[in-house]
Structure formats: structure tokens, C-alpha cells
């Protein structure tokens, strides 16, 4: 009737069982107490009553598990989250076998929905994401989160954050700016942790080679938020940089997405070089990430000690990824191709190893 891999519950039977088992635990507990009184009062061996008390404890724990699963099922039903197909055998609801995995699936899906809404500018959704800050380290959560949000959402969320911050700065709304800066950093950290796990073929969260390809597509694609146009890589770079100093990204990620970002930066540079001699003094300037391009300073950077919007910093999209650092300097224009910087800007950026595609590992091969 059901395959070996199928895990799920039949409703309303499961609900009935969760309630019945909970009552049974309570009744056995009472029984143990009453029986102890009788046995002890009659001078009989009380061992059966003591063992019944232990049994009541076990049944109570089982009932607790059933209720936790039941609560998850209810929330999944409410949120209209379905995991796979239901079988033909009746009103089965499929769900992960383990409670933790089920919880991760639920949380990952809900967090991805919030992230998608936040990428569309929903401030409440952005605030709601905070709840999931600590979940990104869980591979099950990270995998579901990334697959549900998609490479487009991953790319556009930082873009929207940057655009909103710039908007707040332009209007001089400092309270909103501070809030956005804090939430933005938390969100970028969440994205960074999840993305690093989900793009590492050795991690259980690995979202697949296809996801890496989509990141590249989205990285090269033009996006727009709040009137600012940007290249996807500029937004993704904010995620790459959102860590404590040691990049969490895998060698595979570096080789594929990172390698393509380097190639893309070179292409952009050649285009600018050919198009406008006025930038000749800036010959070695790299593609800035969005915080740099929009003049947001440290407002979206985890490592930056200050969130001072007057302190304009410039950050290379690629440099952050490859070297986990950025170079403070001055820039004003919200387009990445313009700068007021002087020519004396050393940019010792070693050329990364050649990008190879597809990655050496294929999904499933190392899982």
C-alpha cells in the first residue's frame, strides 16, 4: 500500500490517537498511584505499581511526541505546505519521518516565503525573518529555504535591502535606516550561512548543480529595486561578505559562481574600458558590491564596526568573496561604473583558478 520510504499520517485517525494517548498516559499515572496505595496498604509487593509509574512516564513522552507532530501537521495544513504526493490509499498526509526534519521543512518553507516577500519590499516579512536567524545552520532548513526561495530570491533580497536603505538615507529617516541596517545584516547572515551550506556538495543542504547554475544566471542578470539597477552579482556579493572573516563558501562554490563572477567582472571592465575613456584613471577598479555602489558604507556589512552612512566605503563584489575583505575608499555614484577615486589604488587581485563547468561533483554522488 505504501512504499518503504513513505512517511505520513492518516487523518483524522492520527489526531484521535494523539488525544487518546495523552489521556491514557494520565490514566496510567493515576492507576499507578492508586495501585501503590492498595498494595502498600495490604503489605503486598509494590513493584507492579512502581513499574506502572515508569510506564506512565514513557507513554507520556510518546504522547508529547504525538502532540508535537500533530501541531506540525496542523501548521502545515494551515500554511498549505504539502510534502510530496499523497498516496491513493486514502487521506494520508505525507511528512518527513523525523520530527526535527519535519520542523525544518516547515520552518524553511515559511522563512523562504517571508524572504521572497521581503525581496518584494514587505517590511513586515523582513522583520519576521528574524525569527529564523538561528535556523540557518541546520542543513535541512537551509536546503528547503534555498530551494523554495530560489536563486532569484536569493539575489534580489539583498538588492531590495540595499535599495531600501538608500531610500531611507535619501529621506533622512535615521530610525528606519538603523532598523533596516540591523535587519539587513541579520538577513544577510542568514542568507550567507544557508547559501554556503546549500552550495557545498558535501553538505546535506546541497541544493544541486542546477542551483549553482541559476545563481550564475541571476548573478549575470540585470535586476532593479527602488529605481536602482544592478547586476545580480553585486547583490550576491553582499551575501558572500556576510561572515565573520573566514568565508564559509565551499571550493565548488568558489570555482563555479565565484569563478564566473570574476569572469563577469572582467567582461564588465573591458566594456567600460572600451566605452568610456573618462574612466581610464580607474582602470583597475573592480565591480563594487551594492553597498559600495549605493554608498551605504557599513550599513549592510557584518564586519564593519560602524553603521555610519557618511563613511562611504567601496567594496569589490569579487574581492569580498575571494579575500573576505574590502577596501574603504570613496565613491558617490549609485552606478558601479562611476567613481571619484584616484588612480593610486592598488588592487592586487590574483586571478583565480580557471572556472570549470559543470562542477566535478554531481548531486547525490557524495551524499
Amino acid at each position: 500500500m505504501t512504499g518503504a520510504e513513505f512517511s505520513g499520517v492518516r487523518q483524522p485517525e492520527f489526531d484521535t490517537m494523539a488525544g487518546g494517548h495523552t489521556r491514557a498516559a494520565g490514566r496510567i499515572e493515576q492507576l499507578a498511584e492508586s495501585l501503590y496505595g492498595e498494595l502498600h496498604g495490604a503489605g503486598l509487593d509494590t513493584a507492579p505499581a512502581l513499574r506502572l509509574r515508569e510506564l506512565a512516564g514513557r507513554v507520556g513522552k510518546q504522547a508529547e511526541d504525538l502532540r508535537r507532530r500533530q501541531a506540525l501537521i496542523r501548521e502545515m495544513e494551515q500554511q498549505k505546505i504539502s510534502f510530496g504526493t499523497s498516496t491513493t490509499a486514502g487521506s494520508f498526509m505525507e511528512m518527513p519521518d523525523g520530527l526535527d526534519a519535519a520542523q525544518s521543512l516547515l520552518d524553511g518553507t515559511l522563512a523562504a516565503r517571508l524572504a521572497r516577500a521581503a525581496a518584494d519590499g514587505d517590511a513586515k516579512a523582513l522583520a519576521g525573518l528574524r525569527k529564523y536567524a538561528g535556523r540557518a545552520a541546520d542543513p535541512e532548513f537551509a536546503g528547503v529555504f534555498l530551494r523554495t526561495l530560489g536563486a532569484k530570491g536569493v539575489t534580489e533580497l539583498p538588492g531590495t535591502l540595499a535599495a531600501q536603505l538608500r531610500d531611507a538615507a535619501k529621506r533622512g529617516e535615521s530610525a528606519r535606516m538603523n532598523g533596516l541596517s540591523t535587519q539587513g545584516k541579520q538577513t544577510l547572515r542568514l542568507l550567507s550561512t544557508a547559501l554556503a551550506a546549500g552550495t557545498d556538495p558535501e553538505n546535506r543542504a546541497y541544493a544541486g548543480d542546477g542551483f549553482l547554475r541559476e545563481l550564475i544566471e541571476q548573478g549575470r542578470a540585470d535586476h532593479a529595486a527602488g529605481g536602482a539597477k544592478y547586476a545580480g552579482y553585486q547583490a550576491q556579493a553582499l551575501i558572500w561578505g556576510a561572515h565573520d572573516g573566514k568565508t564559509p563558501f565551499s571550493a565548488t562554490f568558489m570555482r563555479t559562481v565565484g569563478g564566473d563572477a570574476v569572469a563577469y567582472e572582467k567582461e564588465q571592465y573591458r566594456r567600460r574600458w572600451a566605452a568610456a575613456t573618462e574612466y581610464h584613471h580607474d582602470a583597475q577598479v573592480s565591480l563594487p558590491d551594492l553597498a559600495g555602489a549605493l554608498g551605504l558604507g557599513g550599513l549592510l556589512r557584518s564586519g564593519a564596526g560602524t553603521a555610519n552612512p557618511d563613511r562611504k566605503t567601496r567594496s569589490s563584489a569579487v574581492g569580498d568573496l575571494l579575500h573576505a575583505r574590502w577596501r574603504p575608499t570613496s565613491t558617490r555614484s549609485p552606478t558601479f561604473s562611476s567613481t571619484t577615486g584616484r588612480s593610486a589604488r592598488p588592487t592586487p587581485r590574483p586571478c583565480p583558478t580557471r572556472w570549470r563547468w559543470p562542477p566535478a561533483t554531481t548531486p547525490g554522488s557524495r551524499r
Binding site: R10, E13, F14, T16, L44, L52
Partner: protein, 80 residues
């Protein structure tokens, strides 16, 4: 405490028997629902096995308590 008379002990036996009767089926609904696939999958299967074992243990303990009370009653001098 151990020197209950026969009448008092008979009452104890009756109360323990009633406790046993009242709780004999306490886990039966869960066992029945699990047989009906209320919850399938590896974890569900483990639960099903466990709840059946728990039911056996429950009944075994109830039977032991009843048996020990009845044995005590039988061992008392048959005064009446």
C-alpha cells in the same frame, strides 16, 4: 498493615481487580489505530511496536497485582 482480616483483604482484592478492569484497555485505542496505519514510516513503525509492548507490560503488571492480592487472600485463615 499485613494483618488485614479476611474481609478487608477481600475488599482490597476487589478494588485492585476493578483498577485492573478499568485500565486493561487503556492502550488499546492507540494499538488499534496503529494497526489501521494512523501513522506510517520508520518512526511510526517503531512507535507501533513500542505501544504494543507497552500494552503487554501494562496487562502483565495489572495481572501480577491482582494475582498477588488473591494469593494473599487465599493464604489467610478461612474464618467465615
Amino acid at each position: 498493615m499485613a494483618d488485614l482480616d479476611r474481609e478487608a483483604m477481600r475488599a482490597v482484592v476487589e478494588r485492585i481487580q476493578r483498577l485492573s478492569d478499568e485500565h486493561w484497555w487503556a492502550l488499546a485505542p492507540s494499538c488499534r489505530l496503529m494497526e489501521g496505519d494512523a501513522w506510517v514510516g520508520p518512526t511510526g513503525a517503531r512507535f507501533g511496536t513500542q505501544v504494543n509492548a507497552d500494552q503487554r507490560e501494562l496487562r502483565d503488571l495489572l495481572a501480577r497485582a491482582v494475582h498477588s492480592a488473591r494469593s494473599r487472600l487465599a493464604s489467610l485463615p478461612g474464618a467465615s
